[in-house]
């Protein structure tokens, strides 16, 4: 048989039929929903008089709007309260599993799926959220959909979609000390551009990915969409299986062994066709920080902020000028030393146990610089519980961080956590768009969690390797 990529195999396994528009009717085996993009879909379903086709394959939680300081209903924001009530009611009415605030399993939807073992290799996963690509870390084809497609999945467990091309991305060798998964993806987006991945699913591999934990793989897959790729995945291996074993929704007993055999077989075959191949050397990747208004506008911590004069094209010049004007940063100056107002450690990119553990190891005995507001927001209740058990929350509090309950929080600031005015925020999240963190003039610098901690304790963008003597 011709060697096939994981993408081709999963696509074939889930193809229902060709539609008249030339697209594929694709089975979505796992559907995740949250409070922001689902209420309209349930409304459409009601308008059309349709039922949920496979309620046992949709899972719900609350993350986007849920406050991270107040945890009892009704929430002080009446609109948020209404949306959360709507989700609860819709789930109850249609028999959908809902991990609510009392479940102990609530969190950012892209953390809940893996933690519960719902996210599995060889599956298709859709959610009304573009960071659904996160689940690709397990060797799933996972992507974000719009609300009308949420309706389609609820009503038919399928959507109409065209296949993607596959770009293999190899990261060879090793990362240098103080360089993290977040730097790998920021560097990659900087290299390939914010729309470099349009039309592609990214298959990440190479020694760096082989060694990565599941949490690191998730960080990279999470931001595939920031590079324009709707999906990104890593072939499943022993690391994947070890993570999933004994999770609540993972197969048990004999079914586990059968599942592992299937999962092994779904990985890309040696010699399969890729539409494109890109190779980076792990050693070449620096700790990376964004200076602009899209995630591709990143530089190594030792580099200078680009100056418009140095632009290679008229387009690039305009882009740099627009970004510098918004960011109020001087072109040509070092990014290192840029004063910050806020430090945010959270989001579906970097709010997992390993992120907090790593930062806590460096934060012990240090203090957040005077005048800096620092917030740490675990991505899920489970992470929050383990952090409490290990005393990690205490390390953060003693350092001067506010330690919050699980949710999206200041990643998109739909809850009360927001930047004020043109505050500048060192953030472990994934988007630095204008106004993203809740203030129309707020400014975001994306970086790894350890770099956020370095910025928090020094009050300015800093090289974490120097601040924390990493070597």
């Amino acid at each position: 048989m011709t060697p096939r990529s994981l993408f081709e195999k999963v696509w074939a396994d889930h193809t229902v039929r060709q539609l008249a528009n030339g697209q594929t009717q694709l089975l979505i085996g796992t559907h995740l929903i949250h409070e922001v993009t689902s209420p309209q879909a349930f409304g459409m379903l009601r308008d059309l008089g349709l039922k949920v086709a496979m309620p046992h394959r949709t899972f719900a939680t609350v993350d986007h709007i849920v406050p991270t300081d107040q945890r009892t209903e009704p929430f002080s924001d009446p609109l948020a309260d209404e949306m959360i009530k709507a989700l609860k009611k819709n789930c109850a009415e249609h028999g959908i599993t809902y991990f609510d605030l009392n479940s102990g399993r609530q969190g950012i939807v892209h953390m809940v799926g893996p933690e519960q073992g719902i996210t599995q290799p060889g599956t298709t996963i859709a959610c009304g959220d573009s960071h659904t690509s996160t689940h690709g870390a397990f060797g799933a084809i996972a992507f974000g959909i719009g609300t009308s497609q949420v309706r389609d999945v609820l009503a038919t467990q399928t959507i109409s979609l065209s296949p993607m091309k596959v770009r293999r991305i190899n990261v060879t060798g090793r990362l240098r000390p103080g360089v993290y998964a977040k730097d790998v993806i920021l560097h990659l987006i900087r290299t390939l551009g914010v729309n470099g991945g349009t039309g592609y699913a990214y298959e990440y591999g190479g020694e760096v990915f082989d060694r990565f934990s599941m949490e690191e793989r998730m960080t990279v897959c999470n931001m595939s969409i920031e590079g324009g790729a709707r999906a990104g995945y890593v072939n499943p291996d022993e690391t994947t299986f070890a993570y999933l074993k004994d999770r609540p929704y993972a197969p048990q007993g004999a079914a586990w062994d059968e599942a592992v055999a299937r999962w092994r077989a779904v990985a890309s075959d040696p010699g399969c066709h890729y539409d494109d191949v890109v190779t980076l050397r792990g050693e070449d990747i620096p700790p990376t920080v964004t200076w602009g208004i899209n995630p591709g506008q990143g530089i190594g911590i030792d580099e200078n902020i680009p100056a418009p004069q140095a632009a290679g094209s008229a387009d690039e010049r305009t882009a740099i000028e627009e970004a510098l004007a918004y960011m109020k940063l001087p072109g040509g100056a070092p990014i290192k030393g840029t004063r910050i107002d806020v430090a945010f450690l959270g989001s579906c990119t970097n709010a997992r146990l390993s992120d907090f553990k790593e930062v806590a190891a460096y934060l012990k005995g240090r203090k957040v610089a005077p005048g800096i507001k620092a917030i740490a927001v675990p991505g899920s209740q489970l992470v929050s519980a383990v952090c409490a058990e290990l005393g990690i929350d205490r390390v953060f509090r003693e350092a001067g961080f506010e330690w919050r309950e699980a949710g999206c929080s200041m990643c998109l600031a739909m809850n009360p956590d927001k930047l004020v005015g043109d505050q500048i925020c060192a953030s472990s999240s994934n988007r630095n768009f204008k106004g993203r963190q809740g203030s129309p003039t707020g400014r975001t610098l994306l970086m790894s969690p350890v770099m956020v901690a370095a910025a928090a304790v020094t009050g300015a963008v800093a090289d974490a390797r120097e601040v924390f003597a990493v070597n």
């Binding site: 229902v16 030339g22 009717q25 089975l27 389609d152 009503a155 038919t156 467990q157 988007r431």
Partner: protein, 199 residues
Amino acid sequence: MALAKIITISGRGVVVPGNDIDTDRIIPARFLKCVTFDGLAAGLFADDRKAAGGGHPLDDPRHQGAAILISGANFGCGSSREHAPQAIRKAGFRAVVAEGYAEIFFGNATNIGLPCVSAARADLQRVGQAVAADPALSVTVDLAAMQLRFGGNAVPLTMRDSARDALVNGRWDAIGELLEGLPQVAAVAGRLPYVSAPA
């Protein structure tokens, strides 16, 4: 479900300049606090418009009532919020002409019957100049001829075949066809243990 065949759209145009215009700009997150899409028009480019202090093209009285939104490359990048194309449509636009689109945005727009066609940069500049010179100029997006026509000019448009086909044949909302496939869906689901096994 009988859906409208979307073949030609004519109306006045307005240019919102820039590349990589993301969905957080098209509709800032605070406007997503809603359980229906009604009322989204108020949030369209809200922060950009506020920052422009009345000087944003969408607030220019000469462009009121425009039906065709003209922009740059990688339009609609960022989040998957369908609120973005919904807000554009609720604000009265019936087509978008740009150099290119982010994928999820493009799919979401197509699914709600909002055509997103692509044109070459030089042609976008021409139509932009023509619209600026005469805001009342009628601009036509013709999905049959794949042309953009304005003031005696005709320039080529491109669009993914499947989307064009879906729009001109009134199949842009896939739900009807997807429902017809339900018996086959059950068969495919039955072959996949993670779908068929009770959770």
